[in-house]
């Protein structure tokens, strides 16, 4: 469960989010819609504890994450969150395999465990054949699959996707929708921030939340 209680986020004088209350249930797929700069990405960053709210509290699975120290924020992300960034945020001169395994590096898992986990996500997101390719040599769609695989390698129960189809053509966008459906079937809580209309008529979306100028539009 993800809960925002009266959350405000300011960047200097700019109010990105203004006294927001939200609640997402476990296993739900939520779409945050709104124009660029409306505050969608800020909500994702707050859920991932990449940012701290200026005011209010955020609760994830009965834990207040809004005041977590940096050390615990990182651990929280590592254990609970899979983040698919708009620009993928892959390390361009690393291979597909190394990029996907990055979240697991600090855990010092044995090679067999790493290989098992890697095989599962490579298969799931249909990227096995590119396993040893350097990421900068992949197409946009392939890079996104690597980013999705990386977001799932630590088996998080919350997936956050920021404008996932912004850099994809129609076909690849539909492929992503299909992946999204698969992830939802695994009972993951998924929050997608997008202004792509493709997401607004999907029958498996549980909730669409409209955001404008940092406020919820009811």
């Amino acid at each position: 469960m993800i809960k925002f209680n009266n959350v405000t986020k300011r960047y200097g004088d700019l109010i990105a989010l203004d006294s927001i209350d939200l609640e997402f249930k476990k296993g739900e797929l939520i779409v945050l819609k709104g124009v660029s700069g409306s505050g969608k990405s800020t909500i994702l960053s707050l859920i991932a504890s990449l940012l701290k709210p200026t005011q209010g509290e955020i609760i994830v699975d009965d834990k207040k994450i809004s005041k977590l120290a940096d050390h615990f924020s990182s651990s929280f992300r590592r254990d609970n969150i899979g983040f698919i960034f708009q620009k993928y945020n892959l390390i361009k001169n690393l291979s597909v395999k190394d990029n996907i395994l990055l979240p697991l590096v600090p855990l010092n898992l044995d090679t067999l465990e790493l290989e098992n986990r890697l095989e599962i996500v490579l298969e799931m997101f249909n990227i096995s054949h590119k396993r040893d390719i350097i990421v900068k040599n992949l197409s946009g769609g392939e890079q996104q699959r690597v980013a999705i695989a990386r977001a799932n390698i630590n088996s998080p129960h919350i997936i956050l996707a920021d404008e996932p189809t912004a850099n994809l053509d129609d076909k690849l966008s539909k492929d992503f929708i299909s992946i999204l459906k698969d992830m939802k079937s695994l009972s993951k809580t998924i929050v997608v921030a997008t202004h792509d209309p493709l997401f607004f008529d999907l029958d498996f979306v549980d909730k669409i939340i409209n955001i404008k100028n940092g406020k919820l539009v009811i």
Partner: protein, 372 residues
């Protein structure tokens, strides 16, 4: 560790440049320290074997020969353990433009050096030079009266250090006097040995008081003289040392201030996918340790090879002078832990700190902020 290695390889040209720069710096520092240390080590051994006091005669401020009969007078001074007249001098071998140090020994000491009245014992440097001029079995000395004195070459000197024996020829004292044209009663100088070493200054004072025209030199005076020569040469290299350090700190400054946007973004990504500050620092620590430690080890090994295998070409000439005899000196291997530690602490921890500090600054910021 795997991530750190892959990070080093991803920026291989930049890291290769760093490794080469650090290796050169370590090599330079280590070579200077080692060569200076080796020479001091050799010299200390030689100087420790010197007599406690040397008495030289002088006329008009110029060194001349001394009368051997003084030995008996000096022996009467309280505190003097032993007195020996020494006969030695430099023989100018013009063909090779070098000077050999001829040392005369008493008749009864000849057996000790495995020589007799018709033979000489030569140091390694002398042997090599003589061989170049086809003097394999004997050498023709030209006496002070212009006649040739043929003496057979026996064997090589086996003394404590190579520096001491390198340019020495040991021969019968009378033969030496004959070559140099000394009178029978004349010696080059007189060596005085004192029973209680703390009494050396007092004995030296007594000798100076008794022999006003003579020059009295204590072992300490000679040590000071050598130390001044090498301190002067070390001073020249101190400048080089400072320049090297300056270069190193420029590299360090560049490293600390020049974290590229790509690296900055990477730290942000790592934090965003769940790396903690200590995970980032651990990876950076491994990376910096691999680079600095490998540069340090390569630099140290190269300097040891340069000095003890190749015998420090270039630097050796500067430290030991241009005499071809001295250039033949082999540096004895000395493992000086202090030097290794000094160079280690001047390079490895500083480089590690210079890598970790900017990464630490970045990784303590919000990941969202670092990735922007």
């Amino acid at each position: 560790m795997d991530y750190s290695i892959s990070h080093i390889l991803r920026y291989k040209y930049k890291n290769l440049f760093t490794v080469i720069s650090l290796t050169i710096l370590t090599f330079l520092l280590s070579s200077l320290f080692l060569i200076s240390n080796s020479i001091k080590y050799e010299l200390n051994i030689v100087l420790d074997q010197l007599p406690d006091i040397i008495i030289q005669n002088q006329k008009g401020g110029i060194k001349t020969l001394v009368d051997e009969s003084l030995v008996y007078d000096i022996l009467d001074i309280n505190g003097v353990k032993d007195v020996k007249s020494r006969v030695w001098g430099y023989y100018d071998f013009k063909k090779a433009d070098v000077k050999f140090l001829l040392v005369g020994v008493e008749e009864f000491e000849l057996d000790k050096y495995d020589v007799n009245n018709t033979s000489i014992l030569v140091g390694i440097g002398v042997r090599d030079i003589l061989k170049k001029y086809y003097y394999n079995d004997y050498f023709n000395f030209i006496n002070s009266d212009g006649n040739i004195k043929k003496l057979y070459i026996k064997s090589n000197f086996d003394t404590v250090t190579k520096l001491e024996s390198n340019d020495i020829i040991v021969l019968n004292k009378d033969t030496l006097k004959n070559i140099f044209g000394f009178e029978d009663s004349e010696a080059t100088d007189i060596a005085v040995y004192v029973a209680n070493k703390s009494e050396i200054p007092t004995i030296a004072y007594k000798l100076q008081d008794k022999y006003q025209n003579m020059k009295i030199i204590t072992k300490e005076d000679i040590k000071t003289g050598y130390a001044e020569i090498f301190d002067y040469k070390s001073g020249i290299f101190l400048s080089l040392f400072i320049i090297s350090l300056f270069t190193f700190f420029v590299i360090i400054y560049d490293r600390m201030s020049g974290v590229s946007s790509e690296q900055k973004h990477e730290i942000g990504v790592l934090k965003a996918i769940g790396w903690r500050v200590q995970d980032v620092l651990k990876a950076k620590f491994y990376e910096a340790t691999i680079i600095s430690l490998s540069s340090y080890l390569i630099g140290i090994i190269l300097s040891y090879i340069y000095i003890y295998i190749f015998q420090a070409p270039l630097l050796k000439n500067i430290f030991l002078g241009s005499s071809s005899l001295l250039r033949n000196v082999d540096f004895s291997f000395v493992l000086n832990i202090d030097i290794l530690f000094i160079i280690f602490f001047l390079s490895v921890p500083i480089y590690i700190a210079a890598t970790i500090i900017p990464s630490w600054k970045l990784s303590t910021l919000d990941a969202d902020e670092v990735m922007r």
